[in-house]
């Protein structure tokens, strides 16, 4: 897969280079790949500094969104009143893109990391809560009956039967979240931030520093792909029976 990715990337870079060369485009419209590469190498400390901020936002938001989502799904399963109250809210929030409320979050929580973490948390929370709850509900009834015969209490049934049974749905939600979390961080930083890759991209754009813009974009892509693969690896680690089946 890595070899295929390298070949495709090299091909695209070649096309990009040929395009710039053929049309003799100025740097402020489209810089050539070698200019971007040089800028990337020269700006490594700067890029890493901003990358660290964005990656921290993504990881903290991802963990908090996932934890809250799992907790909510479990509470929904065991407390019907809570489920009745929160289920409509989950359905409604699925239809509202988190980016729509991003300006409000930045207004309330400021330009720092907290506002981006809250955005990512919200983005994941509703997805994880609804997919994981769905997974918990879909536990095959035969397994629940088996637990009943083994005289499992509700907690043991959740821990040993329902939770692992819902892991495939949880990881589907996480994979989706891993795609959207970096985008949410980027958008949040565009709307209001003083640090982060999104901020750096916007800053480079306003200063017409296109090589830096492309270098930051490249770092963001690299970071997003790496993060997605980390989640994918976790999926393979924690749900080996699904991976091997497929």
């Amino acid at each position: 897969m890595i070899i295929r990715l390298i070949i495709t990337s090299l091909f695209l870079i070649l096309c990009w280079w040929l395009f710039v060369f053929a049309f003799d485009l100025p740097t402020y419209i489209l810089p050539s790949p070698e200019l971007v590469f040089i800028r990337l190498i020269n700006s490594i400390p700067l890029l890493l500094d901003h990358c660290y901020i964005t990656l921290s936002e993504i990881i903290i938001g991802f963990i908090s969104g996932t934890s809250l989502g799992i907790l909510t799904a479990c509470l929904m399963l065991y407390f019907p009143f809570f489920r009745l109250m929160i289920h409509p809210l989950l359905l409604i929030t699925q239809t509202i893109p988190v980016f729509v409320i991003a300006p409000l979050i930045i207004l309330w929580c400021g330009y720092g990391m907290i506002s981006k973490i809250i955005m990512i948390t919200l983005l994941l929370y509703f997805k994880i809560a609804s997919t994981f709850y769905d997974g918990l509900c879909r536990t095959p009834f035969q397994f629940l009956e088996m637990a009943q015969l083994m005289r499992a209490n509700r907690f043991k049934t959740l821990l040993y039967i329902q939770f692992p049974s819902a892991l495939p749905q949880l990881f589907s939600g996480l994979k989706l979240g891993a795609v959207f979390a970096p985008i949410a961080a980027l958008v949040g930083e565009w709307i209001g931030a003083s640090r982060g890759i999104g901020f750096l991209i916007l800053d480079a754009y306003t200063r017409v520093d296109m090589p830096l813009l492309f270098a930051a974009l490249f770092v963001h892509i690299l970071m997003s792909v790496a993060f997605y693969h980390l989640v994918l690896l976790s999926t393979q680690k924690f749900t080996p029976w699904i991976q091997e089946k497929s």
Binding site: M146, A147, M150, A152, I161
Partner: protein, 248 residues
């Protein structure tokens, strides 16, 4: 030769007397499904350490009897202190757990403190059943016959008093099925088994007692007590099919 056919004796029901063993007694209640009467009330006696099979047409209520005994039907919770294991038609191995963990799940749920002891016991059972090479396999990596063996290993570790089997071999091919029958019979020979099956030959191979369910609402129409010698008598096969309303 000790074939004990009791065509019209049911439901006077004196199995203890006939078999000469202790038995688990169940009063199956009158049961309706969607306002349609499915089962008549009758008494069911399962002699301990023996195999009882229930034969009868599809949809007559065989599985319902098992589910009533297991306490799966909410309005008919059976108030019992027996340890019951249930082997349904579909596989009951947890797909996320390796074979050894599938066998140990009951111990985990019951929070048995001595984990090492439990694991050692499970390994002993795997060794005894010739499954030791498959302990780290996930269910999807095992064949149908092997999955059945793992389920039987679980029953053995749980040391259930009563094992309810709802056509557990029906999804196996003919040869594997016979193998699985023999395997189950050997491994569970000390257990009390209630087996639901469509297959008269399977019932003959495995059972010490066969109950034939018939009618609407269903009741025990007939019962047969079998010895090992009976199972090799060709006329018994004819007799059984005749009782099931099939002329060979």
């Amino acid at each position: 030769m000790n074939l004990n056919l009791q065509p019209e004796s049911w439901p006077s029901f004196d199995i203890n007397h006939n078999i000469g063993h202790d038995a688990y007694q169940y009063n199956i209640p009158h049961f309706s499904y969607d306002a349609k009467p499915l089962l008549n009330a009758f008494e069911l006696s399962l002699p301990k350490s023996s195999w009882t099979s229930i034969l009868g047409p599809s949809g007559i209520g065989k599985t319902t009897i098992l589910r009533l005994i297991a306490g799966f039907i909410p309005d008919f919770q059976s108030n019992q202190n027996l340890k019951i294991a249930y082997l349904p038609q579909s596989e009951l191995l947890l797909p996320w757990a390796k074979a050894i963990d599938n066998v140990l799940i009951g111990n985990k749920i019951k929070n048995n403190q001595n984990k090492k002891d439990n694991k050692d016991k499970a390994i002993q059972i795997f060794e005894k059943l010739g499954l030791v090479d498959y302990m780290s396999y996930y269910p999807h990596q095992l064949s149908g016959g092997m999955k059945q063996r793992i389920q039987i290993a679980r029953v053995l570790l749980e040391d259930a008093d009563l094992v309810l089997m709802d056509e557990p071999f029906s999804q196996l091919d003919a040869l594997t099925r016979i193998e699985a029958n023999t395997f189950a019979k050997n491994c569970l020979k000390d257990k009390t088994i209630l087996l639901v099956t469509h297959d008269p030959m399977e019932a003959l191979r495995l059972s010490d007692q066969i109950l034939i369910l018939d009618g609407k609402p269903a009741n025990i129409k007939d019962q047969l007590f079998l010895t090992e010698a009976d199972k090799h008598r060709p006329e018994l096969i004819h007799e059984l099919y005749k009782k099931l309303g099939v002329n060979l």
